[in-house]
């Protein structure tokens, strides 16, 4: 908008001075797309930024310390080897004076390095959570978009499956799959992904139902744009907010589901480990060896909290109405 009182601007001819139609602002060449605006708002969301950095640090820590698969890490112990229990297995980590020591998170009852075990548990939990997130987001988006755009059979199928999830809680299904595939972590992750898409699909369907009535979709249809192109080019980009925000929620709930079924004994099995399994193993150690209980719990809480805050930041970035003062 050109400001009439700005002295550096040439005085406009009278006729144009009273035009309501603004001239396109040509002082800046830069043009922000919706995506860039969203990114800008997200980068300015302090809580989300702190959460994002923390999560990245946790991921780096978990995967570089003890290495992953054949790649070795910088930590000299692994999560399987036992050694003598020193000082009752108490943690050697101290912040003041800062020292890491031999066993920063302590040792478990048979002398395994607990730092390495927690790192392994974090790896497994993160791997499962992100796999679930990716698979469920993909399935949920595809099914939700098809159900919302074409309606018909896909839609009623989606609704019936949703009904099914009201009567069989996701945790129960997850436990059953865990009992079946628990010793095979990638398979478990895939199965959890396969049962986690319904919530997202419902939301995407709702969003698509309202988008398909929008005039720009009608305009595209009138031109003769094929339906798959309309979904890809016009509908999904505008549902991106819903998809991205709920993908983060999926990841945080997958972390909690995985740890919960591991806690029940249906998830990851020994000798491999996960954060939920560690808590289950040491739930009675709270009085005698509290570190065995606290560390895995703090990591679960930390990861889930970070992911949720990132999700909140994304929500505000995509939908600034609710966050503007």
């Amino acid at each position: 908008m050109s400001d009439n009182t700005n002295p550096t601007q040439p005085v406009q001819p009278e006729a144009d001075q009273y035009s309501v139609e603004d001239v396109i602002d040509q002082t800046t060449d830069k043009s922000y797309s919706q995506g860039q605006l969203v990114l800008r708002r997200f980068l300015r969301h302090k809580a989300a930024m702190v959460a994002l950095i923390t999560l990245i640090l946790i991921i780096i820590l978990a995967f570089t310390s003890i290495g992953y698969g054949p790649i070795p890490g910088w930590w000299d112990k692994d999560y399987l080897t036992t050694s003598t229990v020193q000082n009752g297995g108490a943690p050697t980590l101290s912040l003041w004076p800062f020292q890491i020591g031999e066993h920063p998170f302590g040792q478990d009852t048979i002398g395994k390095d607990y730092f390495a075990m927690v790192m392994r548990g974090t790896q497994v939990s993160l791997f499962i959570a992100f796999t679930v997130g990716i698979i469920a987001t993909f399935l949920g988006t595809a099914i939700g978009a098809i159900a919302g755009y074409y309606r018909g059979i896909t839609e009623s199928l989606l609704m019936r499956v949703t009904d099914l999830f009201i009567i069989i809680p996701a945790l129960v299904l997850a436990a059953v799959f865990g009992r079946t595939f628990g010793s095979n972590v990638p398979m478990l992750a895939v199965m959890l992904g396969v049962i986690s898409w319904t919530g997202l699909a419902r939301l995407v369907r709702g969003e698509v139902l309202s988008l398909r009535e929008r005039e720009f979709v009608a305009a595209a249809r009138a031109i003769g744009t094929p339906s798959p192109t309309i979904i890809r080019r016009h509908v999904l980009p505008n549902a991106l907010g819903t998809i991205v925000v709920n993908a983060t929620l999926l990841i945080s709930s997958a972390i909690l589901t995985e740890t919960a079924i591991s806690f029940l004994g249906f998830g990851v099995r020994a000798p491999d480990t996960s954060l939920g399994l560690l808590i289950q193993t040491y739930q009675n150690a709270l009085t005698t060896r509290p570190w065995l209980f606290w560390w895995p719990g703090i990591f679960i809480l930390g990861i889930a909290l970070c992911v949720n805050f990132i999700g909140d930041g994304l929500r505000d970035a995509f939908d600034p109405r609710q966050s503007m003062d």
Binding site: V172, T180, G297
Partner: protein, 514 residues
């Protein structure tokens, strides 16, 4: 409406059937039911394997087993339930009957508590958007949303039960604890009520002084061990309740609602004064417990009935509002009376149970005592699992209600209401609240499924012999009958909950029936 409900029930039955088939197939394929026996060195191995195979019908094809199970369930409609046998030959029907009560009690109380607390917090934080209270609630919601329920339950067990029990016998509340507690509560209330800085300061001061006084008093008279309540306190509490209900509904201008609520409160006080001695009598014979239960239910029923009557008779023109306000008053007055009865027996219970907060099981095994001691025993067993389960659910309800309320507060009709000169409190309670609850009704069904999952975990942590245990052990043994028993009860509860949510939805939103 009836047609709609009938259609819903038909749909639900179909989904139940489909769900049972799915779960059955998944469970029997979840592993090898004979694994432990195959690996054992028991000389009797072959025999045991044969016996278990017979119990589980392993030599029959899977669909025959499923249909047999289904026929047994079908028997429930003619009063002959048969949910099959577990791998050890135990009848699952009996196991389910034992376990269902405790679990459903837990889940239903947790659902109600989560809905009430979550919605309240959500509304207040939406109304005080961007205040310290809002940020505090939002942060708490995020933490609870990210908290693994089993981890939280173990922490509760340790700090709220074991350490509390250690502290209780001769515990004193130190002055710093009193001051800090009072300060925190004062800050929370001041932030929630809002207003000008002056008003907040006054709120804080009043809250601070009264909490300090109460805690100091409680410490001095050892209230936590010998809680002194009784009629005088009850009367004060009911009067306070009545005022609160009037302020929250119509305000004091409307004489009809005011009179109806007042009458209900009066009836509650007089009624309680009359029946209290009867209710206080010690019963030790378990045979008479059910009579006592019926008396309690009778009182509740009478209270609600009288409240409806008061609302209808005195409500005059604002009959609907007067009735709902009086019923609310009656319900809360009954809860207060029940609390009073429980507290009155607390010191007696402590004499029998010096460590009152249990960490294991749904009730103390082999506990033979008075009626009220049993009541308190059940209640204390419920506390921790309910808190654990509720805390997780509250977070979701808070977030949803806040979002929904903010959305409603931006609507044109809220602006219309304000432009009429209606007080902000009434704009919220009368115009915004009901509209913001409409989308929440649909969430209840999904949340209930989540709570059942949560109950499985909480029961495990607290060692309950409930439905969760049935499921966990059954699944671990690849034993379909107990798992399906669990499914039958929880799924039916979920379906009923869903129907209830639909009904509430239709009541809240007049556009549905039209």
């Amino acid at each position: 409406m009836f047609k709609y409900i009938a259609k819903r029930i038909g749909q639900s039955a179909l989904i139940l059937l489909l769900g049972s088939l799915l779960l059955y197939v998944l469970v029997i394929n979840a592993g090898d039911p004979l694994e432990d026996l195959r690996e054992s060195n028991d000389p009797n191995r072959e025999n045991l394997i044969r016996q278990r195979s017979a119990n589980m019908g392993l030599d029959l094809p899977w669909y025959v087993r499923y249909l047999t199970w289904l026929r047994g369930v079908g028997g429930c409609f003619v009063g002959r339930c048969d949910l099959g046998t577990s791998r050890d030959g135990q009848a699952v029907t009996g196991l389910v009957a034992q376990a269902a009560g405790a679990t459903l009690r837990l889940v239903i109380i947790a659902t109600i508590a989560a809905i009430v607390i979550g919605i309240t917090l959500g509304i207040v934080s939406a109304v005080r958007q961007y205040s310290a209270f809002d940020y505090g609630v939002t942060l708490m919601a995020f933490v609870f949303f990210s908290l693994p329920v089993f981890w939280f339950a173990v922490l509760l067990k340790h700090y709220a039960a074991i350490q509390f029990n250690d502290w209780l016998p001769n515990g004193r509340i130190s002055l710093p604890t009193i001051l800090i507690t009072a300060g925190i509560l004062g800050l929370i209330l001041a932030a929630a009520l809002g207003g000008s800085w002056r008003r907040r300061l006054v709120t804080f001061a009043v809250m601070f002084v009264s909490v300090t006084g109460i805690l100091f008093y409680m410490d001095q008279v050892e209230w936590l061990r010998r809680p002194a309540v009784g009629l005088p306190v009850y009367i004060l509490a009911v009067i306070g309740l009545g005022i609160l209900v009037i302020v929250m509904t119509s305000g004091f201008q409307n004489p009809r609602v005011r009179n109806a609520v007042g009458a209900t409160a009066l009836i509650a006080i007089i009624g309680y004064a009359v029946v209290r001695p009867t209710l206080m009598t010690e019963r030790t014979d378990p045979e008479t417990f059910s009579t006592a239960n019926w008396i309690l239910f009778g009182c509740l029923f009478a209270a609600v009935l009288l409240a409806i009557l008061a609302g209808q008779l005195l409500g005059g023109f604002s009959r609907r509002q007067a009735t709902s306000a009086s019923v609310t008053t009656a319900l809360f007055a009954s809860v207060l009376a029940f609390t009073d009865l429980m507290l009155s027996h607390w010191s007696g219970y402590l004499a029998v149970m010096p460590r009152p907060i249990p960490t294991i099981a749904a009730e103390t095994p082999n506990f033979y005592s008075t009626y009220w001691n049993h009541m308190i025993d059940t209640a204390t067993h419920l506390i921790l699992p309910t808190v654990a389960l509720t805390a997780i659910s509250i977070a979701a309800y808070t977030r949803y209600t806040r979002a929904s309320m903010l959305d409603v507060l931006n609507q044109d009709y809220i602006r219309t209401a304000r432009s009429k000169g209606i007080a902000e409190r009434k704009v919220i309670t009368r115009h915004a609240l009901r509209n913001s609850l409409i989308p929440i009704a649909t969430i209840v069904a999904f949340d209930f499924a989540g709570l059942i999952g949560g109950a499985v975990i909480t029961e495990t942590v607290f060692g309950w012999q409930g439905m969760g245990d049935l499921f966990r052990v059954g699944l671990n043994n690849v034993d379909p009958a107990p798992v399906m028993g669990f499914f039958l009860v929880t799924a039916t509860a979920a379906v009923l909950m869903n129907l209830l949510a639909d009904l509430v939805y239709a009541i809240l939103d007049p556009r549905i029936t039209g």
